[in-house]
Symmetry: D2
Subunit: 116 residues, 4 copies
């Protein structure tokens, strides 16, 4: 199933429940951000090493997987509402990032492009 | 380009800059949430109607498209790090939502499943 | 009880549980943002008018009050860790905002200062 | 200047700009969360130790201080709109947390109360 097919299924899900009225871009951005907050909650007291270690903790990994799905669902729904082609947007942004972060300038550095 | 190919390209981008050291799931969840905050900023003072109206405002739509891309990029990178199959996670979550939100119970209602 | 006294009580709460080790500014910023996400969840499907209307819904108002408290707690704790005087920071920021947003330029407009 | 006086000043700031129309609880929760995202951005690629080390980096500390102020401003404004007494809310929440996290059960553990 590709991105457009998933978006179609999400749209049908919303239509069947008469939820389209709630799915303004504004509201979807809030729902997406709320789910991103739930993802933070999983990792907030863990060290970075422990945050990678959750791959061997069945329950925590399952929780993270669900949050990833929730975020993806609201992101695809929002993109659909705004007529944004997600794949194209990603590829264009990678190109922008290649320019903003030239390898020789930022290798091994965690510095924002505006400070490079 | 499918999801796995995009993830491969993101992984190569990080490797070329020796950034893998910064891409712990903890850090990626923060970066994702920070980008979700930038999306909120676009919509925070708009009405719901205006938030849909940005589709005819070239600059604002472009800004929203970039934020959608940033969120997608960190989400795909995080999923890659955790070994989560994003497409499978989404489809499983839609199935869960079908059960949590039966049509007859929640049609036209903006109520959380725990309050249904 | 003033801000410094509350910070002292929060510090004692953490010390008694040996939690100071978890309260790095990084982790506290995540916890704060996760709580901000729970606040979003309360309002995400409500209209703006309904979001004000929760003042007459005992349960929802109580939920919002708890989230406000959670955010305040992590904010005060973070400020304490960084040695930031919250009251002074607020007053300085109001002064900055007075300059950034002159009344004659932005009256009735929801425009960001960089677009004024 | 105490909390109520700060809230009065924020209210006058908004009134002078005819911004009260934009300050619904829904919108304020978004603005607060967007500012929390800017705080995350400061810390996202830092280690926990580095995140505490910013106290000796004038520029980064100043940036963090401004974000703390922004979050506090939107939090106080939201509480004002909802008629929530922030100090009382904090003290009540500390009491709740004392019960949820008994010292003997959670000393040195970063476990959520629901998992204790």
């Amino acid at each position: 199933m590709n991105i457009k097919e998933i978006q179609k299924r999400l749209s049908e899900f919303a239509d069947a429940r008469d939820w389209d009225q709630f799915h303004s871009p504004k509201n979807l951005s809030m729902a997406l951000s709320a789910e991103a907050g739930e993802l933070l909650e999983i990792f907030q007291w863990l060290t970075e090493k422990e945050s990678l270690g959750i791959v061997s903790s069945e329950n925590t990994l399952k929780a993270a997987k669900e949050e990833i799905a929730d975020i993806a669902i609201f992101l695809l729904r929002l993109a659909d509402k705004l007529g944004v082609d997600v794949e194209q947007a990603i590829l264009e942004k990678i190109d922008i990032n290649e320019e903003k972060y030239p390898i020789e300038k930022c290798k091994g550095k965690n510095t924002k492009y505006s400070d490079l």
